[in-house]
Symmetry: C2
Subunit: 620 residues, 2 copies
């Protein structure tokens, strides 16, 4: 296509953005219009993508980090012939694939965007995947808005991609000066972006984002740049091409008042078809050697105490030797989470992402875009740093296996900043998530394998201190299961725990036994989904008396999960919820568990003894 | 003090760090030893702080962003005479104020640190507070580790402080090269940090962090630098001064094996007392004019629909005119959250923090350190970006008033990336938090006032679309309350909602009435704490049949809060929980609420009609 033809394409992309937003009576046409020239040149001359085969591993990737410019990316799909004009005009309608912000319901969209500052780090993850995992020459392009450059996650990714020298990554920054509410921090100061990129080993190019030839040169320069990623910082005008919107404040996220006039001003360009070039490479993704016969680690029942975090690391390392698709990501705490077991066993598939949890999660999301199975681990407390990234991964329908270690007050001396007390609630609240909290090393190993087979987001909580091994290595555990660990024909109460509190429940059962009360103990290692059947049976067998204890604030975690299991059941047990009832400090784990009321001697449990006896007496 | 005396002080700080960790058998002495010279020079010559009066508004602030270097800051407190040697050796013991990471249990500690990358942005917030709110000449010093410089939140703050030109902010980066697991991304490449700071309008100085004279010169240079903040990038050696630890890998977070030998190598320096200089200024903090008689906005019952987000903005603007201590922070979406009402009413106390939620929350935490009452607002979905900062604010025992707008599927066309569906769970899980979700503008206004009076973390969820005004402007609402909005003597079921679902519950009650079923409707506007008394009365009056509906994933939010209210009650109702039951897309709010099963025609509610009739018939 000639420069003039590309200009016509850009005008059509603007017109289609306006038309789509007009049909929807909402959307972000002005944010699309600023970037239309940038994207027109890309699709006409530089992108290598087979729209008829989005699964082609050699396809380039294009991530709209500024997801609100969805009218533009949909207009590009129309120009590429991937969607019809009719579908374009279903934008934002109920049931349409063309949602307000792009999601992978569309086969040409890798990840959901719309929470700013996420697409670009994910793009950096895909670029690293190309080099280290797929080992294919595809390129990753990403379009950022200038407003989102204020997100620290962008600069985490700039630092990482610069350090890695990812020359297959091109970031295009659409500096249209105007954010949602007013001018951005830096207005049209292109250098403010370029200088920071350069300080992180990037090649940066400042251009007029409406100059077709300049854009083309910049892309060529990016393609020719070896050893470092490129940031193209483009001065653009928001709402470019229409007098109603060009460089006007107060026009963010609004359809045009007079779309017809704007379309006229844009030259009334009709549909333009672009034959987007297909990938030149026909390579196949690299596959790592694996040996499904590698044995899983096994721990002796009653042997020395083993922390579940160690079993996580050892179980994952074994899994990775058995399966070549699994990769491990470390938030620079691998000697604590034991992700470093992966570094020892399969160093090619170990990724150190340093103290940058948002980047770690973005990289994991990027890897799974290309069908790798990522496990990412840090302290459970610090996974909260990337919660928005996990939230968006739900919308991306991503496969993510997450581990949070050092959960709860049981970690002891390090104090509350290192204690996750909200992670079960966080992870449980996510649509379709799996939340696991094992109490035993053999159980942990089995659950790690199950996570790799689960298509979605799964989370496993691990514990710092060693705990007794109570399950044999041949026992099976499944997502959605629970295990009765102690029972008799004469149980008067069910004690429910998971992780450290399971062992406290066992001790409490011993104590109650001395008082003549038999207690059933249930290990609810799968917090979500929860095993309603096992819980119901236990409740029925113990007079509807349950005590649930968790090393977590009382809200949103195991206790609430147990309550939910019985919410509208015909028989609803009395559930005594024990959780962390005050802000903990430092101390020994056992001291803290006692102080916050979740250990075997928990005040409420002790008080409960006589109550259970009385109630049991009354009902028996 | 002479340079030699300062060197002796530094050695003593190292010795005390080693002794404290040895007494605790845990802790981070090596991370303390690298920064001891930097802190010795600071306290001997540059810090202005009255340890006998930590509330002095003219005190400098010193934030240990690398909170794990707590032995060092505690050793400084000992050298300043603020704590005894005896207390120093209680480090990390149960009940000691000297926790594993610093918390404001100690009067000289402003905020809890230990989640890396948070102290420095908070320091930037305090520095802005000095200039814009307190209008006092105090200085803010912060000590960062090099590992934490990988956190994007650091660079959000670098960008903000550079843009604001905060010359009262000095960031000292202790580049000891070694992270927890191994070498950091940049090792001893000081320039990699300095260049990035310079690219954001900082003055940056690279020094040898063990050279007393160089450190002193750098601080003087920082003090003399006008119009921009200073970053001092110091090359240091982790575990400096002891052969067992100096520049050795694998020594992070561990007490020394041979503390006696190390103390010997450090010259066996005894206690050193430092007379830290008191502030020279005796100024009083600026106070803004306020007029407690300013009327609150009032909305007409049955008038045009009003979005609660608008009532939030208008209610907050009125509050700020009534109270001079309240400030407003905007994540560059003030035209959506209506934080821009504050900009119109009290522009001096409005802060635009751009699309940088971690910085917004850090700034808010910084402001409340100096006793201002911050309200921070963005889309509820994007508050999740700063969840770790709110988690840490709990440990800081901070006063934070948070607003999240655009909650739930009811926002409609923008699609799931913009819909908070986890926020109630997130905020409810935090220890001691308050979670509010009003359904009416007058109610919203009253709750905003209550938040400002609440000493802790409170969250109010607001809604995008207009809803009917059902409460008069004179009605009172309180944290912990609920309101029965419909009742009769013959109610057979209680419908519970909050926000948008309250109005659906009212509609559903109308529908049920047509089927001959009277329904009680309860507005649980305070999700946490929840009004157990009102819920119990409603349950008792309606045969223990509750239906609760929320615009949120089903876990961790309103439904679980209701279940928890009855967990171990003698009478436990049957609770039908309705929540978002599938990943939503785009569409009209009403279409989506119907599709995910939370509107008045919710499938389960319709199915429930006959069930209620039957059950009611059976029990009556």
């Amino acid at each position: 296509m000639t420069n003039e033809e590309i200009h016509q394409l850009a005008q059509r992309l603007r017109i289609d953005s306006i038309r789509a937003a007009a049909a929807a009576s909402s959307g972000h046409p002005t944010s699309s219009m600023s970037a239309a020239d940038l994207m027109a040149v890309l699709m006409a001359r530089h992108l290598r993508y087979d729209y008829s085969n989005p699964e082609n591993p050699n396809n380039d990737h294009l991530i709209f980090s500024k997801g609100h410019a969805s009218p533009l990316v949909y207009a590009m799909f129309a120009a590429a012939g991937a969607i019809t004009d009719e579908e374009l005009l279903t934008f934002r309608q109920f049931g349409s694939r063309l949602e307000g912000h792009p999601t992978p319901i569309l086969p040409w969209v890798d990840v959901a965007t719309g929470s700013l500052g996420q697409g670009m780090p994910i793009a950096a993850g895909i670029a690293l995947c190309a080099r280290e995992l797929d080992r294919l020459p595809y390129r990753v392009w990403t379009l950022c808005g200038d407003s989102e450059m204020a997100e620290g996650s962008i600069w985490e990714a700039v630092e990482h991609a610069g350090k890695e020298g990812l020359d297959n990554l091109v970031v295009v920054v659409d500096v249209n000066r105007l954010g949602q509410r007013g001018e951005t921090m830096h207005g049209w100061n292109l250098q403010s972006y370029a200088d920071r990129a350069r300080a992180s080993n990037w090649h940066a190019i400042e251009i007029d984002g409406h100059d077709i030839a300049a854009i083309d040169r910049a892309y060529s320069e990016a393609e020719a740049t070896a050893g470092r990623p490129t940031m193209i910082v483009a001065r653009t005008i928001k709402g470019y091409g229409a007098s109603e919107t060009a460089d006007k404040e107060g026009k963010h996220g609004q359809p045009l008042k007079d779309p017809e006039k704007a379309i006229e001003e844009l030259g009334n360009v009709g549909p333009v078809h672009v034959d987007v070039a297909k990938p030149e490479s026909a390579g196949t993704p690299h596959r790592f050697d694996a040996d499904p016969s590698v044995a899983l680690p096994a721990y002796e029942v009653g042997g020395d105490p083993v922390p579940t975090r160690l079993a996580f690391g050892q179980g994952l390392a074994a899994l990775m030797r058995r399966r070549g698709d699994v990769v491990g990501l470390d938030g620079e705490v691998g000697n604590s989470t034991h992700m470093e077991e992966v570094l020892k066993a399969t160093p090619e598939r170990y990724f150190e992402v340093y103290i940058a949890e948002q980047m770690m999660l973005s990289q994991a999301v990027g890897f799974q875009v290309r069908n790798w199975t990522p496990f990412a681990a840090t302290f459970a407390a610090f996974l909260s740093r990337g919660y928005d990234f996990v939230r968006m991964a739900v919308i991306s329908q991503a496969k993510l296996c997450l581990n949070g270690s050092h959960a709860g007050v049981s970690i002891g001396e390090d104090g509350p900043s290192q204690m996750a007390l909200e992670d079960l609630a966080e992870m449980r609240a996510l649509g379709g998530s799996v939340v696991l909290y094992p109490s035993d090393p053999n159980q942990t190993v089995k659950l790690v394998q199950a996570m790799a087979d689960h298509d979605g987001i799964s989370y496993i909580r691990s514990t710092r201190s060693g705990m007794p091994t109570i399950y044999g290595p041949d026992e099976e555990f499944r997502i959605g299961g629970a295990r009765v660990v102690r029972e008799s024909d004469d149980d008067q109460v069910t004690l429910i725990g998971a992780g450290v509190t399971l062992h406290e429940a066992i001790k409490a059962a011993d104590t109650l036994a001395q008082e003549g009360i038999n207690a059933r103990v249930v290990d609810v290692y799968s917090v979500k989904p929860i095993d309603v059947e096992t819980l119901t049976a236990a409740s029925n067998a113990t007079g509807g008396r349950l005590v649930v204890s968790e090393d977590h604030w009382p809200e949103g975690g195991l206790g609430d999960a147990v309550l939910s299991a019985f919410a509208d059941a015909d028989e609803r047990p009395r559930v005594v919820k024990l959780g962390v009832d005050k802000l903990p400090g430092s101390g020994k784990g056992a001291e803290l568990m006692h102080a916050v009321g979740i250990d075997a001697d928990a005040r409420r449990l002790v008080e409960l003894g006589p109550q259970i006896t009385t109630t049991a007496g009354a009902t028996r």
